[in-house]
């Protein structure tokens, strides 16, 4: 489908910026928590609760985004042969989608395998799993590594998007402009 220079549909653009913002918030929460957890454990727990629920929002938003992307194709650049660049861009996006799923799902699995029960306003929202400490450790390791790789890719993605016009003479920012 050739969408010319029309940007992504509004829902996709909103989800993109929501996800980007929330990932930045998640990294910030982890950093702040490391500084305060010993002096202010109650606030630390509040931050971790925020981290959990923001993670759930990111997971839901990404599922919705993937669903929408199955319906809406990426706007084309109409600028000649950029097959290699587009392939690289696709690989990067697939990796980021995969990492978002990996980070969020392993985050939930880690706590669930440690016996944590996810409740929202007193209602259990995720099924309770049997204790599996070793699996929880593996999930934690994947969660941490995948989060760092995702942060690095997201930063790379932002830099490439911002520099695309200067490097290749073709701006791509209009695709996601709000």
């Amino acid at each position: 489908m050739d969408r010319g220079h029309s940007p992504y549909p509004v829902a996709l653009r909103l989800i993109h910026w929501l996800t980007a913002g929330l990932i930045a918030v998640q990294l910030g929460l982890v950093g702040v928590n490391a500084l305060i957890y010993e002096d202010a454990p109650v606030w630390s727990e509040a931050l971790v609760q925020g981290h959990i629920w923001i993670g759930l929002i990111i997971l839901s938003a990404t599922l919705a985004r993937v669903g929408l992307r199955l319906v809406y194709a990426s706007p084309t650049l109409n600028c000649g042969n950029l097959a290699l660049h587009e392939r690289l861009a696709s690989i990067m996006h697939y990796m980021m989608y995969g990492l978002i799923f990996a980070v969020t799902i392993t985050g939930f699995l880690k706590l669930a395998w440690l016996g944590y029960q996810f409740e929202l306003f007193g209602v259990v929202v995720l099924p309770e799993l049997d204790l599996a400490p070793q699996a929880a450790i593996t999930a934690q390791q994947i969660h941490t590594i995948a989060a760092y790789v995702l942060a690095a890719l997201a930063a790379g993605h932002a830099i490439i998007a911002l520099q695309h016009g200067r490097l290749l003479g073709i701006s791509v920012l209009w695709k996601m402009k709000l």
Binding site: A34, L35, V48, L114, I137, Q140
Partner: protein, 184 residues
């Protein structure tokens, strides 16, 4: 009879007097230090519970953490690799010597650890906390207690452990911290 010089007699008299006078003080100090122990561990009556200090983690910036537990936990740790329900462990954070700044504690209930903390007002309530669970996941192989080997060593009469953490401030110490030194 040996003839002693008057200078030597004066010294001997002073030494004997000092010994007689200081002996009761030494005995009292010794009693205070060693009388309140179990398995050579210092006894601390705090938070309405009798606790025994089984490990200290010293940080590079001079702050330290002291681990305490109950006699029941010590008895249970002697023979069990998994601590039973009712086990309480306290971690006192000292940013300066004297009173602890933050006290973290954990208690096992129905096979799972509940966590709590307080500063000035003692609050022994515990509940599952994601922040605590996340950190303690690293000690999953030792019943989620980083210092379980020290606790078991203390329970078997090897005394309290002392560890050195090369991280200052509030940064969590690595798991290796708790295995880097044998119990004292």
């Amino acid at each position: 009879m040996i003839e002693l010089s008057s200078r030597y007699r004066q010294f001997a008299t002073a030494f004997a007097s000092a010994t007689v006078l200081l002996a009761p003080v030494a005995i009292m100090v010794g009693y205070a230090g060693n009388g309140n122990t179990a398995n050579g561990l210092s006894r601390v009556d705090r938070y309405g519970i009798t606790l025994f200090a089984y490990a200290t983690v010293r940080r590079s910036d001079g702050t330290y953490r002291r681990m305490l537990t109950t006699t029941d936990a010590l008895a249970a740790a002697r023979s069990n690799s998994v601590l039973p329900d009712g086990t309480r462990i306290f971690m006192e954070s000292y940013y300066r010597p004297g009173e602890p700044s933050t006290v973290f504690h954990m208690m096992k209930q129905q096979g799972k650890w509940g966590y709590g903390s307080f500063t000035s007002n003692t609050d022994l309530n515990v509940r599952p906390q994601a922040s605590c669970l996340s950190c303690h996941a690293g000690a999953a192989t030792t019943d989620f207690v980083y210092t379980l080997p020290s606790l078991k060593a203390a329970a078997s009469g090897k005394g309290a452990s002392e560890f050195s953490c090369n991280r200052g401030g509030r940064a969590p110490c690595s798991r290796e911290t708790y295995t880097s030194a044998p119990p004292r």
